[in-house]
Symmetry: C2
Subunit: 308 residues, 2 copies
């Protein structure tokens, strides 16, 4: 039986329970929110009203997909865009998601040196033993400052039963500019992967996966399969599926033989399904939650091909 | 005359006015705060009280050094460690620093792709034309995701008269792990520098410097001098002086012939001067602000050797 204190064991229990590795991003943008959500928002200032709309939207999206997927991924940037009221809304959304039994991966791409990295980890990572209910189960981390700067994150994650996803090969068109620089036959991406492999092996749980994973974009399917093989114990977080062009076939290489070892993220296509066909005609802005649920179900179905 | 809308022109006007390139970090840690500051803090919860102590400390530090230095650098991680109350305290500290006429460099090391990078920039960067008074004049940015991911930051910074400091060669012992990977004779650091050079030249102001600068550690003086030469229009932000071991001689290479083009940061030595000799005996925790002012004056004097 999997240890409920270990991130990957908890994650895989959730993936098995829901029968899918689909991860729904929570990426609110004020202009894209359904009109009824914007109209219902209240608050003394424009920023407070925007933050209230984000909170209503985030909680509503969680309610819409909580029975369908194992995990959600709030994007910190969109909440930070609203300043302190946005950060407070994010905090309440994380509490709501955890209360709904979802694993929360906070996409904040933090990175710094020594004690500063530790402060980020302590302030954002809760895991199985949260000091505060608004801390995430896992955090995305940027390795640019060096392998030594990952240690404080790992140390806090270990202590709290939380996980980390280290940026390894990002999904954007220009990700090769620095990640692809290659010396002695090994690229920066491969060096980051070697570090993640070591850290994941050192933290392996009962299910064979560690608590230190990697972000690898669906938009680079050949590298995704290679990196899966290079980091057999690392849980993967795969962005770039859907809106960025990655298909179920593109992400197939992320999974092990049991269909485990990876989460595949979709944000825009699920968040704003109400405004796009085929859901716009059927649901529209008033029934935006049903549209998001339908889009999440379509994603789950589509991913079945990749994991079986 | 320098344009007051352009980040480097504003920065250099402030450096000239104060006669020093010293930058004071605002890095509160609860255990290290002067007892009178901790004791004065109020609030309904432990986190609120900690955030109140951080706010009192940050504002008090600003009051202590506002006449002595041109700029301050709050470290976002320490505020985020306290969750939403900490982020709200940081926001009020930024307002206080700007009202005191200081340039605020927010050290948050953000980085993400496309529209997400834009959200960070819009939410954290204010500059000469702030939408909100709690936005910073400049932001540290992590380039790992690729040169393409810098563009949204540059676009917002341009629009608002703000600046960016892109991580180029960080001050930690392990910074070479990925930054030092070298292909065709050019390291990742040199490639990031080339990108910064291009972006700084494209945004050059009346004083010859652009709005896109570089973070280069004082702990690597040879690389600092090389990188200064490789990015002649880029304002530099130099951490690692003082507590991390960098000396005035080590940072001398960061400056142009007029003693401009760089800010040199000190955090711990100024923040917690009251607890360290030679200031502890003279001032102690009750007169912690005088201790910080004395430490800032000592830094200013020490740096004179580097800029003349």
């Amino acid at each position: 039986m999997a240890s409920l204190h270990h991130f990957s064991d908890r994650l895989h229990a959730a993936i098995r329970a829901k029968g899918t590795p689909a991860l729904v991003g929570i990426d609110p943008r004020l202009k894209s929110l359904p009109a009824p959500v914007r109209d219902a928002a209240t608050g003394p200032t424009e920023l407070d009203r925007a933050a209230d709309a984000f909170e209503r939207f985030g909680k509503g999206l969680i309610d819409a997909v909580a029975d369908l997927v194992p995990a959600v991924k709030p994007q910190s940037a969109f909440f930070e865009e609203l300043g302190p009221p946005g950060v407070a809304a994010l905090s309440r959304i994380i509490v709501h998601a955890r209360a709904a039994g979802l694993i929360v991966v906070l996409d904040a791409k933090r990175g710094d040196i020594g004690s500063t990295a530790g402060a980020y980890a302590r302030g954002l990572l809760g895991g199985a033993e949260p000091e505060r209910p608004d801390l995430a189960d896992a955090l995305t981390v940027n390795p640019f400052l060096g392998a030594d700067t990952l240690e404080p994150f790992v140390s806090v994650a270990k202590e709290r039963g939380a996980g980390l996803y280290v940026l390894c090969k990002t999904s954007n068109p220009g990700s090769g500019a620095f990640q692809g620089v290659t010396q002695d036959g090994r690229s920066v991406t491969q060096r980051v992967a070697a570090e993640i492999d070591r850290l994941s092996q050192e933290t392996v749980g009962e299910g064979g996966y560690g608590i230190v994973g990697a972000v690898v974009g669906a938009t680079y399917p050949a590298e995704l399969a290679e990196l899966r093989a290079a980091m057999p114990s690392a849980p993967l977080l795969v962005p770039g599926y859907g809106s960025q062009g990655g298909t179920a076939a593109d992400v197939a290489g992320a999974f092990d033989g049991a269909g485990l070892g990876a989460l595949v993220n979709s944000s825009r296509a699920v968040n704003f399904a109400f405004a796009a066909e085929p859901y716009a005609a059927e649901f529209g802005p008033t029934r935006w939650q049903q549209a998001s649920a339908a889009a999440a179900r379509a994603m789950v179905d589509d991913l079945k091909a990749a994991t079986s």
